[in-house]
């Protein structure tokens, strides 16, 4: 009669099993498929398009699926000058995106208002929506946007998925 339990390394089982945490597994899935909501408002959108095209190829990082519906997107890339007239539309589209959601402020204008110290321009999109990554540049190179995307992926990898502290309503 066999009574002893098998202890130790079992290559038959462990060769096909990865041990991890649920958080890490979910974050791994999330961070490698961040679908962008392209909020192209000015010349930064041209660089955003370049980042999506063949030379810079944002699909190497799993973000090639530009969704023009906020309900299918994960990250809003605010690329360009946010005027006050556009600000509430940006806010509304952000509100329509399902959780979890992130925001990249691409370029000087989206980050701070840039050179437009003017009556018509919102002085940084962080006045209306929370920004995860700011990209410097006027406009930033596509590499800078890809760097921001990698930084965002690293941030997502560290976020708690379970036991998220409840936000005050």
């Amino acid at each position: 009669m066999q009574t002893s339990t098998e202890v130790g390394y079992n290559s038959k089982i462990e060769g096909e099993v990865i041990v991890t945490r649920v958080d890490a597994a979910l974050n791994w899935a999330r961070k490698n498929s961040i679908w962008p909501m392209p909020m192209g408002l000015a010349c930064c959108a041209i660089e955003l398009m370049a980042a999506g095209a063949s030379r810079f190829d944002i699909s190497r990082f799993g973000s090639e699926v530009m969704r023009f519906s906020p309900r299918q997107s994960d990250v809003m890339i605010v690329a360009g000058t946010v005027t006050y007239k556009m600000a509430l539309a940006v806010r509304r589209i952000y509100d329509q995106m399902p959780e979890p959601k992130w925001v990249i402020a691409m370029g000087a204008c989206a980050s701070t208002g840039g050179m437009y110290r003017s009556y018509a321009v919102l002085q940084g999109v962080d006045n209306i929506i929370p920004v995860d990554v700011y990209v410097a540049g006027c406009p930033p190179r596509p590499e800078a946007l890809l760097d921001a995307l990698i930084k965002l992926q690293n941030k997502i990898a560290k976020e708690p998925v379970l036991n998220v502290p409840q936000q005050a309503a």
Binding site: L88, R117, S118, A120, N127
Partner: protein, 192 residues
């Protein structure tokens, strides 16, 4: 047919209303003394003088002077290839003149822009709404007494605005203040 001859024809037709053509660097301008007659002058310029293209309508704020507003109409004829500039003054109390959008349809949006930025109204305009700022914005931002930084405004669910932080930057313009050469230290010659 030159622009000068066309301007003289315009003057011959309207007499006292149209000033003698003034030439500056090859460009011809005439002053229309009564802004209320601008539609008739423009209609004649288009139908009889062949100015079939309205290049631009713009407005000038002569802040501190009376009359405060100057309207500038840039005319061009595709056939004779001559430019003509019409100018007319409007007082601040009135801030209104007839539309010319029945003469050139393109004047529709030009006049909306002037209304939006300067607050000059065009009587008879088919759709005089703001074109750049949002409907309900309380100011006219291209006026000289409007600060570049802007003023706070609030329209719930439409738009809000806050003054931009300028911090004495080089783009600050104050009516009657120093010009940009004096304000901007980087453009000044270090020897002077």
């Amino acid at each position: 047919m030159t622009a000068l001859e066309l301007a003289q024809k315009l003057q011959a037709q309207f007499g006292e209303l149209v000033s003698a053509p003034k030439e500056f660097r090859g460009e011809i301008s005439v002053q229309i003394s009564d802004a209320e007659k601008i539609t008739a002058v423009c209609a004649f310029a288009k139908k009889e003088l062949g100015f079939d293209y309205l290049v631009d309508v713009s407005s000038v704020d002569n802040y501190g002077d009376d009359p405060r507003w100057t309207l500038v109409y840039e005319l061009y004829g595709m056939a004779h290839r001559c430019h003509l500039r019409l100018k007319t003054d409007v007082s601040e109390e009135k801030s209104e003149l007839p539309t010319i959008s029945q003469v050139w349809r393109t004047a529709d949006w030009h006049e909306r822009e002037i209304y939006d930025m300067m607050g000059i109204r065009f009587r008879g305009h088919p759709d005089l709404r703001r074109i750049l700022m949002w409907e309900g914005y309380p100011y006219f931002p291209l006026r000289k007494d409007f600060p570049l930084a802007g003023k706070p405004s609030e329209m719930p669910d439409v738009a809000f605005s806050k003054p931009a932080p300028l911090e004495g930057g080089p783009f600050v313009t104050v009516a009657g203040g120093k010009d940009s050469m004096a304000r901007e230290p980087r453009v000044q010659n270090p020897e002077s």
